[in-house]
């Protein structure tokens, strides 16, 4: 195997066109993304000058939405809050199809309930038990964790030591514990109400999909309110409220002693598409670089057929089985190294360029950033192997290039930039080698967010490594078929 690898590597590095193609792939991958990053300028002209609002960061490090109406007291130590939610109503502005009326209604993820939160700053740790518009009773904490808890109207949140226990009950007597989380130190305890905007997707003027976010609010009615361990008076705060916001989104509380009515608008959840630019935007060049990679991968084998070199190659390796795997290893290694250089340059420099132009970047962990960079390089390498295998199967470079591009790029194009509806687009990105682009998605889609999680806006239906595995399966199957065919057929 080692001599085979060495001979294939010698071929690769001595053919000028293949090296040139690999360099073109690197330049396209890094250059296109950097150009896009350099051109992405965000302007936030307002009364305070060009200052963009800060995006709150949750305890887990992700960008979050944290805006709600909060009626609360201080919680210095142990304590508990118990309520019965007796009514949830709300307002939705300008819903489809007419988009011309403000109607009563509650959006599926409107939330009213009880909460213990570290403090009133946006993004601080919390645990909440809530009744939602259409998803039943739930317990959520720290923005990303979400547990379903039936449809009970009684909610209770207890703190003992630093353990918070969320419980629900159908009647206020028999309680079912749903979750337990940790929150130590002084905190605030109280009632909250919030309602995310109603999302509609439409065609943009440039042909892509554009999400529209229409204001809603929710009013929760609380009775049988019992609070233990709290200190200080009841206070109302509109957490995260922006000055000059429309009156429908301004929170309010009315307290009649036995009944409290709370109105609010906003969301307490991962920020989704509003959480800033995603890091993979600096790697948009990979789709174009991929074409150069495909051409090199195909030519690495078809050129041998065209020039008759294949005869010498096969004479040197009469078993034939090792030839294509050796070629695959060489082309994958070269492409991976080149892709790694391109991505490792494009991501940090691209992010720097975007930050300099006022763009907020959705924060991700270092591990995710490494996965996006290495994953992009790996995706290029696996595609090169697929192209090589198809080149060996077809022995005609034009046919192999067309087939690989139609397998990898056309589904991606149809799914993200055409009229194909989201469900069909998601199947395209599950079943074709284009699934591998999922490795670039840095921000996951959360089920508890009414968001724009469709392919056209950068959300893939498969998890990153799952999607990558689909592409690997295609490459492995094609390579296996090519090895078998090479053994059987006349060179």
């Amino acid at each position: 195997m080692i001599p085979l690898l060495r001979s294939e590597w010698t071929k690769f590095r001595t053919v000028r066109g293949w090296i040139a193609g690999s360099i073109v792939a690197i330049l396209l991958t890094a250059g296109v993304g950097l150009l896009g990053a350099a051109g992405t300028v965000r302007s936030c002209e307002g009364p305070q000058g060009n200052v963009c609002p800060e995006i709150p960061i949750g305890p887990g490090g992700q960008a979050v939405s944290d805006r709600f109406s909060f009626y609360h007291r201080a919680l210095p130590g142990d304590g508990a809050i118990t309520v019965k939610v007796t009514g949830v109503s709300g307002v939705i502005t300008y819903p489809p199809p007419g988009h011309d009326q403000i109607v009563p209604g509650v959006v599926p993820w409107a939330k009213v309930g009880v909460m213990v939160k570290r403090d009133l700053t946006q993004g601080s740790a919390y645990t909440a038990v809530m009744v939602t518009g259409d998803h039943g009773t739930r317990v959520q904490d720290d923005f990303v964790n979400d547990l379903a808890a039936g449809r009970d109207p009684w909610l209770r949140l207890t703190r003992t030591g630093d353990v918070l226990t969320g419980a629900t009950s159908p009647d206020g007597t028999s309680w079912r514990t749903v979750s337990s989380t940790r929150l130590a130190g002084p905190a605030v305890i109280g009632l909250f109400a919030t309602s995310p905007c109603d999302v509609t997707l439409g065609q943009g003027s440039l042909g892509g999909v554009v999400g529209a976010c229409r204001l809603t609010n929710v009013t929760g009615k609380f009775e049988h309110i019992g609070v233990e361990g709290a200190a200080g008076p009841w206070t109302h705060d509109d957490v995260g409220a922006e000055p000059g916001a429309p009156s429908l989104s301004v929170g309010s509380a009315r307290d009649w002693g036995s009944t409290i009515q709370l109105t609010g608008s906003g969301d307490i959840a991962p920020a989704g598409i509003d959480g800033g630019a995603v890091i993979e935007r600096t790697l948009s060049g990979a789709t174009i670089g991929l074409i150069a990679v495909i051409v090199v991968g195909v030519l690495f084998v078809t050129a041998e057929y065209r020039r008759g070199l294949i005869g010498a190659t096969l004479a040197a390796s009469p078993g034939r089985t090792g030839v294509l795997p050796a070629k695959a290893v060489v082309v994958a290694a070269v492409t991976f190294a080149g892709g790694l250089v391109a991505a490792a340059v494009a991501v940090p420099i691209g992010l720097r360029l975007m930050r300099d132009r006022n763009n907020a970047i959705a924060p991700v962990t270092t591990l995710t950033e490494v996965r996006v960079i290495v994953g992009t390089a790996a995706l290029l390498a696996v595609t090169a192997v697929l192209a090589l295998a198809l080149g060996a199967l077809f022995r005609r470079s034009a046919a192999a290039v067309i087939t690989t591009i139609m397998l990898v790029l056309l589904p991606q194009l149809l799914a993200t930039a055409s009229v194909i509806p989201a469900p069909a687009a998601e199947w395209l990105l599950r079943l074709t080698p284009a699934a591998g682009f999922a490795i670039q998605q840095s921000i996951p889609a959360y089920p508890q967010v009414e968001d724009y999680s469709i392919p056209a806006l950068g959300y893939y239906p498969l998890p990153p490594w799952g999607g990558f595995a689909v592409t690997c399966l295609y490459a492995a199957a094609a390579l296996a078929a090519a090895v078998v065919t090479l053994r059987r057929r006349d060179a």
Binding site: G17, G21, V32, G36, G39, T40, V41, Q203, S205, L206, G207, G208, A277, E280, R281, S284, G285, T287, I288, I291, A292, I294, V295, V298, L299, T302, R306, R396, S397, A398, A399, A400, V401, I402, I405, M406, L409, L410, Q412, L413, L414, T416, A417, S418, V419, I420, P421, A424, A456, G458
Partner: protein, 231 residues
């Protein structure tokens, strides 16, 4: 005229090439019909849905152009062709005319049939998409004459066609998206199907026309100078 006739003879006797015209029709109609079946009625422009197959079908037009032009360099047939038609510009023009004519013939079947199968299309969209496919074939002829290697020619042409829209979607910055649309032959060219307000309808077809003209001129320049064989 004789040059075109000899190109026609080569085309119809070579295995594979005539099938590409059939493929153009089948893929365009097939993908269009699939899109029409998938998209719920009236959500988006009917012209876009009916003619969605052009996105995939244009690959056949590109393959045809590359086959007609690059194929001869690969087999060495180009020497014989140039002995018979010494004017290199004339030979390229004959190849361009043949490819354009065949694509036009395929498109004249594929586009009206797609419109009939799908939820319908405006006459502007039908006529414009036919013109678009012919322009794409001319772009591919120019690129193939310029780079000669069939794989590289396919890669460059499809990269130009598919690359811009994919990057434009990922950039998500409206100003840049609009700039990219205006240099993207596919996006601007298909604005004739409607739904792309900043480009309008007919004006967008100028973009693939300019690309095709530049590619043909560059291909002509290379054909006039470079040696015959080798990459």
């Amino acid at each position: 005229m004789t040059a075109i006739r000899s190109e026609w003879t080569k085309f119809r006797t070579l295995p594979g090439l005539p099938w590409l015209v059939v493929l153009l029709v089948v893929v365009t109609v097939g993908v269009g019909a699939a899109a029409a079946a998938l998209v719920p009625c009236c959500d988006v422009l009917p012209s876009r849905v009916s003619l969605a197959g052009v996105l995939a079908g244009q690959v056949a037009a590109v393959a045809l152009a590359v086959g007609v032009v690059s194929g001869e360099y690969a087999t060495g047939m180009i020497t014989t062709s140039l002995l018979a038609v010494p004017g290199r510009g004339r030979l390229l023009a004959a190849k361009a005319l043949l490819t354009g004519g065949l694509t036009l013939a395929g498109a004249l079947v594929a586009i009206p049939v797609s419109a009939a199968v799908g939820p319908g299309a405006t006459p502007t969209a039908v006529a414009g998409s036919i013109v678009y496919l012919v322009l794409v074939s001319q772009l591919a002829v120019g690129v193939a004459a310029l780079v000669r290697d069939p794989a590289v020619a396919m890669g460059v042409t499809l990269g130009v066609l598919y690359g811009f829209p994919l990057v434009a979607r990922m950039v998500q910055d409206p100003a840049w998206q609009e700039r990219l649309v205006w240099i993207s032959p596919m996006e601007a060219g298909l604005a004739v199907q409607g739904g792309l307000e900043p480009v309008g309808t007919w004006a967008g077809l100028a973009v693939p026309a300019v690309w095709a003209a530049v590619a043909l001129a560059a291909g002509r320049a290379r054909a006039g100078r470079a040696r015959l064989t080798g990459p």
